[in-house]
């Protein structure tokens, strides 16, 4: 990753300029802010309805370590990981695709010294702003509801950043392959399936073995494991494996996206 960046001679000021463009676009009107707001509330509503509402019926849950926690404590970190994911994905899918395919924003940028990899980095950095706004707000909700401590919330924050980077990278990669808006239905469905079956609402250990293996391969599972481990203070070596999965995902996503920008727009 680092060596790729050095080889490509990435200029921080050009990456910053790509980000700066998106800051400017924020001022274009209230519609963006509405989308921003709704994206934050979605996981909060799930936390309240399922984590706390359904949680009242479910009762307590025994973790693999033997520790017993309220159901909401188990669900909340998963929703935190989901908000990091959806914050990053919403920027790097719909918005990225529009800039690449319809408004020709990237074509205009590529006529300047900015390189495809710098566009990808700038877009990812911007997606992280949105992702972080969601996760920081969500962490405050969790602390307020007593679902984590301020200390573990701080420990979970870098993990949510990594989740955002990983999904943001892959989101861009997917966007470069999209043919039109209709393809986004598949993405939305895929995202929802991940949301339901990544150990979000029930421990993966309770799934049939075949299903457990499938889940083990998918990204949100690793995001949830990592974020949950830190948010509730259940540390294990396995978390490093989860983090490594997400790091690789980010690197592959970024590299693939940059290459596709080059292949599609520089012809």
């Amino acid at each position: 990753m680092i060596s790729t960046m050095v080889a490509a001679r990435v200029s921080p000021s050009r990456v910053g300029a790509v980000m700066n463009r998106n800051v400017g676009a924020l001022r274009s009107g209230p519609s963006y802010w509405l989308v921003l707001l709704s994206g934050f509330f979605e996981p909060v509503l799930y936390l309240l309805s399922i984590g706390i509402g359904v949680g009242a019926l479910v009762g307590d849950l025994t973790l693999p370590s033997g520790r017993v926690v309220e159901y909401a404590v188990f669900v909340a970190p998963a929703m935190l990981a989901v908000s990091a994911m959806s914050g990053a994905l919403s920027e790097t899918t719909f918005n990225f695709f529009f800039k690449m395919k319809y408004s020709k924003t990237f074509d205009a940028i590529l006529a300047t010294p900015v390189k495809p990899f710098e566009i990808a980095l700038g877009e990812l950095a911007w997606a992280m702003v949105r992702s972080s706004v969601y996760t920081i707000a969500f962490l405050m909700v969790m602390v307020a509801l007593g679902l984590t401590s301020p200390g573990w919330a701080l420990a979970a924050l870098p993990a949510t950043l990594l989740v955002g980077l990983a999904f943001g990278g892959v989101g861009m990669a997917i966007s470069t392959l999209m043919r039109g808006w209709q393809d986004f239905d598949m993405l939305t469905t895929g995202q929802f399936a991940l949301f339901l079956f990544s150990g979000t609402f029930s421990p993966v250990q309770d799934y049939p073995v075949a299903m457990e293996i499938v889940v083990w391969l998918t990204p949100l599972y690793h995001a949830v494991e990592l974020v949950r481990g830190l948010a509730i203070g259940e540390l294990s070596w396995g978390l490093l494996g989860n983090a490594a999965y997400l790091l690789v995902m980010m690197a592959l996503g970024l590299t693939f996206a940059a290459r596709r920008i080059q292949r599609t727009l520089c012809v």
Partner: protein, 306 residues
């Protein structure tokens, strides 16, 4: 020693799969020149421009821009180019002014410098009143002026304009020409593509005529007209649809088009007298100066704008 050309191409080729868009062209553009590519749609003008702007890589052949190799030094070259693409790709999420300041940042200019240049260019493009407006409501001419202003934000050595006035009304075109002429007077090197002969005549010191990916003629507008045409052209229309081409033989070179007959002559009025003397009665007669359109017709057998 002659000055190093800003653009130097030898046997330049661009292929897309089986399709050859640019089929081995040679070019040299000197500093300060206004150079044009004239040709119909599909002649390879835009593909050539995209290679010159270091966005698209040549399939084969030699290409040097500002003395550098586009494959290895793309960003360094693009830092000194101004590119105005065929289709406006202004940023719809930004205001007119922000379109300029944001673009300046891609070139690594500071915030303050970006603002200073944006103000200058808004004036140049006569868009001061629209500075805060979004891009969408602007007229075609205004958008075009903004795109050109944007291409100047890095004070480029070489400005590339791909069909700068296509789709604009005559008034907007003249305003744009006047702005481009001003750039030219400042010594900026301009390279433009067009399928309008009047545009090429107005703006270009030198031009190449392209057809089917190749250069079919090269020279100044005047020299091309002298070489490939006659000083004057008579356009004749006949109401009854009879083939008159044969009856005009000997007056000058005759070119029958679907809707009219062109008669190339050194002296247009004399040619018209001869037409009348032969007892022919065209429904309309127009004597005009010869243009690049005639050059193109002579070279390719087709008109420029279908």
């Amino acid at each position: 020693m002659p000055e190093q050309p800003l653009i130097h191409a030898r046997a330049l080729v661009k292929r897309f799969g089986d399709f050859t868009a640019v089929d081995g062209i040679d070019l040299d553009v000197a500093p300060g020149e206004a150079f044009g590519f004239l040709g119909p749609n599909g002649a390879g003008k835009s593909s050539t421009m995209r290679m010159i702007s270091c966005v698209s890589m040549p399939t084969s052949g030699e290409l040097r821009i500002l003395g550098m190799d586009p494959v290895r030094e793309g960003p360094k070259i693009r830092a000194r180019l101004g590119v105005c693409p065929q289709l406006d790709n202004l940023d719809p999420d930004l205001s007119v002014r922000e379109n300029l300041t944001t673009y300046a940042r891609y070139f690594g200019l500071s915030k303050a410098e970006s603002r200073r240049r944006a103000d200058e260019l808004l004036e140049f493009a006569q868009l001061q009143d629209k500075a805060g407006s979004q891009v969408e409501p602007l007229s075609g001419g205004m958008k075009r002026r903004l795109t050109i202003a944007r291409s100047l934000v890095n004070e480029p050595d070489l400005v590339l304009l791909d069909e700068p006035t296509t789709g604009l009304d005559p008034q907007a075109r003249h305003l744009l020409w006047e702005r481009l002429f001003r750039l030219k007077q400042r010594g900026t090197t301009l390279v433009l593509t067009t399928h309008y002969m009047d545009e090429a005549e107005q703006l270009c010191d030198r031009l190449v005529v392209m057809d089917g990916g190749r250069i079919v003629a090269e020279g100044s507008p005047r020299s091309l007209i002298q070489t490939y045409s006659t000083p004057e052209v008579v356009e004749l229309r006949f109401a009854d649809g009879v083939d008159y081409a044969g009856k005009l033989e000997g007056i000058g070179r005759v070119d029958p088009l679907p809707d009219r007959i062109l008669l190339y002559a050194d002296d247009g009025d004399a040619a018209v007298s001869e037409v009348h003397r032969r007892g022919l009665t065209p429904s309309s007669v127009l004597v005009r100066r010869s243009s690049l359109e005639d050059v193109f017709l002579q070279l390719t057998g087709r008109t420029l704008v279908d």
